[in-house]
């Protein structure tokens, strides 16, 4: 009895908190702040990284691509994780907003993964002498890219949004097993790729003067991508809830 009441209360809370309407208005308030702060952080990080950090001893100036490539590949994987988590939330609690979010992350994730792949292979030319290597980490990032494309085309091929959301969520969660493989692949298989520069447990293997702008670039890039996700989720809300009164009122 008590448990049932608790479940009802929690459900009510989730439904109020996670109603697309509340989300929409909150996000509208948040968006300009997030946009301007992350733009300024990202630009200053890029300027710092490109012009004011010392030259790398081994790689020369080409290492400066790190300030683009590493944030992008980090965000590409984190976006997938976010998508899988919101898919799980949708499947477990049937929160519609989570499904909208998952669907709106997919194209942004595909874009970020694509630029991570391209910037990585451009970086490969001066450092390894080859633009593509069937190295485990690159391959898994490519897998991530195909995964995003598969998810988008799966969702687009169904007219019934409810069905599409459910199938999308199943695939996103199954695809999530790829993320640990990507993370660990560099350690499992010998490869050209340098091991991850920054880990939580160990001391970073990179000089602090290069590290701070990298962190800033990561934060700024993540903020910018979050802004794009917000825009994308607004598009999803417009598509799905076009018959709802509050959307009509808002427009």
């Amino acid at each position: 009895m008590l448990r049932e009441i608790l479940i009802i209360v929690i459900k009510k809370f989730i439904h109020q908190f996670a109603s697309p309407k509340t989300y929409f208005y909150q996000v509208n308030r948040l968006y300009p702040w997030l946009l301007y702060i992350s733009i300024s952080i990202y630009i200053s990080a890029i300027i710092w990284g490109l012009f004011f950090t010392p030259k790398d001893f081994v790689q020369g100036h080409s290492y400066r691509i790190i300030y683009f490539h590493v944030p992008a590949s980090f965000v590409a994987q984190s976006l997938y994780a976010a998508m899988a988590i919101s898919s799980a939330v949708f499947l477990i609690w049937r929160v519609k907003l989570a499904a909208y979010l998952a669907r709106s992350i997919a194209p942004v994730g595909a874009m970020v993964t694509f630029i991570a792949l391209v910037s990585g292979s451009i970086w490969g030319i001066p450092t390894w002498g080859t633009w593509w290597e069937w190295d485990a980490r690159i391959t898994s990032t490519l897998i991530l890219f195909i995964m995003y494309l598969g998810l988008i085309s799966l969702h687009n091929s169904f007219n019934n949004f409810d069905k599409a959301d459910k199938l999308f969520s199943y695939l996103a969660i199954i695809g999530f097993v790829q993320i640990p493989i990507i993370k660990k692949s560099v350690d499992w298989w010998s490869s050209l790729h340098q091991p991850a520069s920054i880990t939580i447990s160990d001391k970073p293997s990179i000089d602090p003067s290069m590290l701070y702008p990298l962190f800033m670039a990561m934060i700024g890039f993540a903020g910018l991508v979050a802004c794009i996700v917000i825009l994308s989720s607004k598009v999803q809300i417009y598509i799905r809830e076009k018959n709802k009164n509050w959307v009509k009122d808002y427009v």
Partner: protein
């Protein structure tokens, strides 16, 4: 009794549709016979290329074998009847995949080991590749069934696009297995690795596939 009936039904359905089970096996034979013709023949080159071709062709053949695996039962309404009858859908999926493996995967593994004998002239490597092929065909079958269940009514191109990223890690392990067999080191480690993958997905995926099929029927 119930399980036996289901297994018998699946076998009956598969055997009566000759194209569905004999077709993939014939295509496998065709690839294995045809690929030496495309290589400038010195027997050394042939054995180098043999394993990659073998693995890619079992991947392809399993893709063919699962094409539209649930589509027929979906379109004629058998799945709806099944859902209503309160039998376990995941059990049915498991048995269906198992039957496909028995009628397509096992013959292909046997043939693969046999062709290995022709390419490498070495009985011990054939004995090593046979269990690996048995496991790999089952894994591919399950993964393609997953892709097919997602794109149930939307054609096999979408299903392949979905399944491809899931199969690539397995191909990487098989590639490592290939070197392990050639140099005869760490063979059992990789065999146990793919067996571990199989033992996880063999029960997990039928459950997921059955939920996906239920979603399609809604």
């Amino acid at each position: 009794m119930n399980i036996l009936l289901l297994l018998k039904n699946e076998a009956l359905k598969l055997v009566k549709k000759t194209r569905a089970w004999l077709g993939p096996i014939l295509i496998f034979i065709l690839i294995m016979v045809a690929f030496p013709l495309t290589i400038e023949l010195t027997s050394n080159n042939l054995s180098d290329a043999f394993y990659p071709v073998l693995f890619i062709s079992i991947l392809l053949v399993m893709m063919l074998a699962t094409e539209g695996i649930f589509l027929e039962d979906y379109e004629d309404g058998t799945l709806e009847l099944f859902l209503i009858s309160k039998k376990s859908l995941s059990q049915w999926v498991f048995l269906k995949i198992f039957m496909h493996w028995l009628l397509i995967g096992v013959p292909i593994s046997l043939l693969g080991a046999f062709f290995n004998l022709g390419a490498n002239n070495d009985l011990s490597s054939s004995l090593m590749i046979f269990p690996a092929l048995l496991i790999a065909t089952y894994i591919f079958l399950i993964l393609f069934c997953f892709g097919n269940s997602l794109s149930l009514t939307k054609g096999s191109a979408l299903g392949t696009l979905i399944t491809l990223p899931l199969t690539l890690p397995i191909l990487v392990i098989l590639g490592k297995l290939n070197t392990a067999i050639i140099f005869n080191i760490n063979y059992f480690e990789f065999l146990i690795l793919i067996f571990g993958v199989l033992s996880i997905i063999i029960f997990a995926f039928p459950a997921i596939i059955s939920r996906i099929i239920k979603t399609h029927l809604e």
